[in-house]
């Protein structure tokens, strides 16, 4: 009896040994740093730990117009990337799911950008967007449109579009800069394949009996899409939107390569929150300040994720 208990305890004890390597890494480089980040954020921490500031860093950040601008850039970026990716990838996956010939080839091609390193392909797109020699401006010429400054353009896209029609736009309605929209276009191109592949998998998981039953009831193609495909795809759409939101909020590589990082792009219009944190840390060596900004961003991302779970979660239809 006693020996049986002892064996069980010993077995339980060794169970923890299996967890130990992963636990040690996660504890040392993920959990504790989270707490340490908060500690650092309370100090005037340059290269070394300086005087205790309390919440002064937080107060400074919340009164820094650059920080608010970086949040605006982050939200514009997410608002540009996420809906575009969802709609395009759904349409393409829906079309791909229904073609029989060439599906594998299409899938291979559409997925290709996703496996390529952001730094390298962002550099390629910088070249495509080049204001002087870029192939895109050349193509615009065929459509009878004037060349654009693309990644060098600080003016908002709404301002540019309405300005061409002779309408003046107030500053708050200028929209994201064309430079940021260029990066959004790149990001959609780069991430689309991921969303398409996930959506294709979602589509192929819908049992065909559901379609058959709906067809028996006389459902046309549009109502099949509306009443079978989209509801059955809601978990996938939800998953893709959560993953893209996290990705959009942490976007760094493309912005770092495509626009001048030290100045946050043209007039700071592509400096998102991640870049703001990076610059304060890396360029200005304000470690405490950067930590505080990262914490604020963390709270915002957490709030958004909870919001997505609360508001969108219940609308998701699970089988």
């Amino acid at each position: 009896m006693l020996s049986a208990v002892r064996t069980r305890l010993a077995r339980q004890g060794t169970s923890y040994l299996y967890l130990l390597p992963a636990f040690a890494v996660l504890l040392a480089f993920h959990f504790l740093p989270l707490l340490y980040a908060f500690y650092v954020s309370l100090f005037n921490w340059r290269i070394r730990q300086g005087p205790f500031l309390g919440l002064q860093n937080y107060a400074d950040i919340l009164t820094d117009p650059d920080f608010w601008d970086s949040l605006k850039v982050t939200f514009y970026f997410a608002a540009g990337v996420i809906p575009t990716t969802l709609v395009l990838s759904f349409l393409i996956a829906y079309a791909l799911f229904r073609v029989t010939r060439g599906r594998a080839v299409y899938r291979l091609v559409y997925f290709l950008p996703y496996v390529t390193a952001t730094v390298a392909v962002a550099l390629v797109w910088r070249w495509i967007f080049h204001a002087q020699y870029g192939v895109l401006n050349w193509m615009l010429g065929f459509a009878g449109l004037p060349p654009q400054q693309w990644l060098l353009e600080p003016r908002g896209v709404v301002e540019l579009a309405l300005g061409a029609a002779g309408v003046a736009v107030p500053e708050w309605a200028a929209g994201p800069s064309l430079a940021l929209v260029s990066i959004i276009i790149f990001t959609v191109w780069h991430g689309l394949g991921f969303a398409i592949v996930v959506m294709l998998a979602g589509l192929s998981n819908i049992p065909s009996e559901l379609y058959d039953a709906a067809k028996v009831d006389g459902a046309g193609e549009w109502s099949l899409l509306r009443h079978v495909t989209i509801p059955m795809m809601s978990p996938t759409l939800f998953f893709v939107s959560v993953v893209s939101t996290i990705g959009a909020f942490q976007s760094f590589n493309s912005i770092y390569v495509m626009t001048d990082p030290a100045h946050g792009g043209p007039l700071g219009t592509t400096r998102n929150a991640t870049m703001y944190i990076f610059l304060n840390f890396f360029e200005f060596t304000k470690l405490g300040y950067a930590s505080a900004a990262a914490f604020i961003l963390f709270l915002i991302i957490m709030g958004l994720t909870l919001f997505q779970m609360r508001v969108l979660g219940p609308r998701v239809h699970y089988q």
Partner: protein
Amino acid sequence: MATQPAAPSRPTLRITPRRVLVHVLLSAGALLMLFPFYWMVSTSFKSLEEASQFPPTLWPSHWLPQNYVEAWNNAPFGRYLVNTLFVAVAQTISVIITGALAAYAFARMEFPGKNAIFLAFLGTMMIPLEVILVPNFIILKQLGWYNSYFALIVPWSANVFSIFLLRQFFLSIPRELYDAAEMDGCSRFGFLWRIALPMSKPALVTVSLLVFLGAWNSLLWPLIVTGSEDMRVLQVGLSAFQSDARVQYHLWMAAATFTLLPVVGLYLFAQRYFIESVAGSGVKG
């Protein structure tokens, strides 16, 4: 009742205007996806003069393969490549080791606090990279690991998503198999090593590909924890090369091409695994 002759089971593919339209749109989209790669390769063979011509030439008038030699020699790209490969492979192997052990414990063992620990593990997925950047930088400096392979590998040698994925896979292995192996005197570790892992090849491939790609493509982390040229990985090296004051798009495109080549080659060779890994990560994860 007489049976009807069976309808032809093979669907006849008629060419309808609608089908044609779908294919035209899909092909146009595919061309848009591919065009940047074409533009990269075609520029990489042009001379600087030709690359900075407007309107541009779609096809190089003189092919200059020596651009690749010049780009390669512009920076120690060989060293960057070795660093990147080493870091990516080491990270992949260690993620699999730490992941398989932890996943096995979560899937097959009973111990106090199991659910709480599992939830805490999942919680680390919520922590954004930005938050742990500064503290990890300070910690690594204090450990004396700044600008070393340790700094590039160790913090990422365990990965919750991989633990989760492997755990799901281990859970699908029938309990009876485990009991039978135990009856035959197989130890718990023996079961993991000889039965569970070989049965989980699809999950291991998924984890390896995702971790390898993540390591290969990362920029922000290596940028911060390494300082010297000999510790640079490819992405850092490429971004340093392209921020050079001299504008030389033909060489940058050559460097971009050889940076992409290994992963694109691997993708074309094993595309099924890549696509299934990602599709699986979405649907089952």
